[in-house]
């Protein structure tokens, strides 16, 4: 796979040079977390060794520079997802915190008893459990839109589940198990017919599809840096500014206040309002470098590379007897789940690991979805920009080794 913006890209990822169990590493777990390119590692190291200082508080030059560097990342994120303004970009610790943040503040300042929250069957636990908790605390009802056997949301059912009592609709951009790329604009249009607030879980979307929050029409879009070639510990909530202004704060402390007296406090405007405490400064710098990396590779090359590898992977898997693909949606991104007849996914995972092939096996934090497909677990190979045809060939060879043990 030596074409366009991905040519030679593998060499930019130092970890891919290592051996695992006496085999060169084949990393097929980018859906869980991506490996990091040298430029992100170097940028964060530079920050720690040359630039590190707190943000917002210091009058000294280094703190000023640190503040400016983090704010430049905010601008970069805003432009990357086409936010209406830089003030719509809130730094969090990751997608999970972004989803908890928005669920919590909607619970405190918007949802009422009897309201309905609609999610889908393909959600990750992080886009299920916060809504369950909010529903419990305000007396709202959580409803679940079904998917069809290919792994697409059933639009007719979705449409009929969105009613005047639906106040929040939350769904994933891309499924971490099925690879389904949801028709975000269509779903938003249906939700907006009743004026519901729309929250999109972009954990699997951000590195795999161009995100334009204005075109999507969603109110909130959440993602993590670490699934997009950046570091762990930092993520983003992109939110509509008027809603961020009206909704109450989430955490309380330094940086999110306007004035504090012992009689009471007033709060800063968004995004500071939602960024209590010292932010993950080095990680924000790493996030910026990761986004610049994606921009430099370019969507044209990213999408072409992913499309070619996914087609090849699906084709090669179909040559192995007894493999059942879980998720064959209309548009599929980089996650390919499957089960093998007569072998539990965990045994597959162990054998693959002995061959140096890293995949995820288990329920992928989507236990209800496993129930929909009536499987306890799946094997998931998920791709990143650094994967190539050889990686897929090595996976297939390793799966044939599995068949030797479990015929």
């Amino acid at each position: 796979m030596e074409q366009g913006g991905v040519a030679g890209i593998r060499n930019q990822f130092p970890v891919l040079g290592r051996q695992v169990n006496d085999h060169p590493l084949v990393y097929l777990d980018s859906g869980a977390t991506t490996q990091k390119p040298r430029r992100v590692i170097d940028r964060m190291t530079q920050c720690l060794t040359r630039d590190y200082a707190t943000v917002h508080r210091g009058v000294y030059s280094m703190s000023q520079e640190s503040t400016e560097a983090c704010e430049r990342v905010r601008h970069l994120v805003a432009s990357f997802v086409n936010a209406r303004s830089v003030n719509e970009v809130v730094f969090t610790s990751g997608t999970t915190e972004s989803l908890n943040l928005i669920a919590t503040i909607l619970g405190r300042g918007y949802l009422k008893s009897g309201d309905e929250i609609l999610i889908t069957q393909m959600e990750h636990h992080a886009n299920i459990v916060p809504w369950q908790e909010v529903a419990k605390s305000v007396g709202a009802r959580l409803k679940v839109a079904p998917i069809d056997s290919s792994g697409d949301i059933r639009l007719d059912e979705f449409n009929s589940l969105v009613t005047d009592t639906t106040k929040v609709v939350a769904f994933t951009h891309v499924s971490n198990v099925l690879g389904t790329v949801n028709p975000v604009e269509d779903l938003v249009r249906i939700a907006k017919n009743v004026g519901a607030i729309v929250v999109v879980d972009g954990a699997q979307g951000i590195a795999h599809r161009p995100v334009d929050v204005r075109k999507m029409g969603c109110d909130f879009y959440c993602f993590s840096a670490h699934k997009a070639y950046g570091p762990t510990g930092v993520g983003v909530l992109v939110g509509r500014y008027d809603l961020l202004t009206q909704l109450p704060p989430y955490k309380f402390g330094g940086d999110m206040i306007e004035t504090v007296t012992f009689d009471g406090s007033t709060y800063a405007l968004p995004p500071a309002k939602f960024e209590a405490g010292t932010p993950p400064i080095v990680e924000i710098i790493g996030l910026g470098e990761a986004i610049q990396f994606l921009i430099d590779v370019g969507w044209h090359a990213l999408l072409a590379h992913e499309h070619q590898l996914i087609s090849y992977l699906m084709n090669q898997l179909s040559t192995i007897p007894g493999i059942q693909l879980i998720g064959t949606p209309r548009e599929k991104s980089a996650a390919v789940s499957f089960v093998m007849s007569g072998v539990h996914p965990h045994d597959v995972g162990t054998i693959l690991d002995q061959e140096g092939v890293a995949v995820r096996v288990g329920h992928h934090c989507a236990q209800p979805l496993m129930g929909v497909y009536n499987v306890p677990a799946t094997i998931r190979a998920s791709l990143g920009v650094y994967n190539n045809y050889q990686d897929i060939d090595r996976l297939i060879e390793a799966l044939l080794t599995v068949r030797k043990y479990f015929s």
Binding site: V343, H346, D347, T350, I351, V361, H363, P376, A377, F406
Partner: protein, 151 residues
């Protein structure tokens, strides 16, 4: 023998494919439910205990080859044995998985159960082999909790 061959030995593959005493006793005197939330292994163990002897035992559920073979071998090892012997076997079995210090005599006492010793080289899989034994420990304890988790 490669690491994989030491893990997936013939005996283990056979017990995975055709687990012995696979089902649920009705009626039973003792019960436990063992789950491994991370990987989804999920087994029920039912026992008939009479005069402190396990006269019958079955297990049922779903999970990987290691957990299923371990359950199958466990039922063969415990049926007809006094509870005190079973507790000793359980302690020996867990010792085998978690430490390196099994004596020749201890290995002899474990009999066929020693086939699972290869699991020790796969730390992520130790809990798979241990799951049904944790369940039996729970089923036989005076304060049975009905559900036991290995994580």
């Amino acid at each position: 023998m490669s690491r994989l061959e030491s893990l997936y030995q013939e005996l283990i593959l056979d017990h995975n494919k055709s687990p012995r005493n696979f089902g649920k006793l009705d009626p039973f005197t003792h019960y436990s439910h063992g789950i491994n939330p991370l990987c989804g292994d999920d087994y029920e163990v039912t026992l008939t205990v009479s005069d402190d002897v396990v006269v019958d035992a079955q297990f049922t559920g779903s999970g990987c080859a290691i957990s299923k073979a371990s359950g199958s071998l466990m039922t063969l090892a415990i049926i007809g044995q006094p509870v005190t012997t079973i507790i000793r076997l359980k302690n020996l079995f867990l010792k085998m998985l978690l430490t390196d210090t099994l004596t020749h005599d201890e290995r002899q006492q474990l009999g066929k159960l020693a086939v699972l010793e290869g699991v020790k080289k796969f730390p992520a899989r130790v809990k798979c082999a241990a799951l049904v034994w944790r369940a039996i420990e729970d089923a036989l304890s005076p304060s049975a909790t009905a559900t036991v988790s290995t994580e």
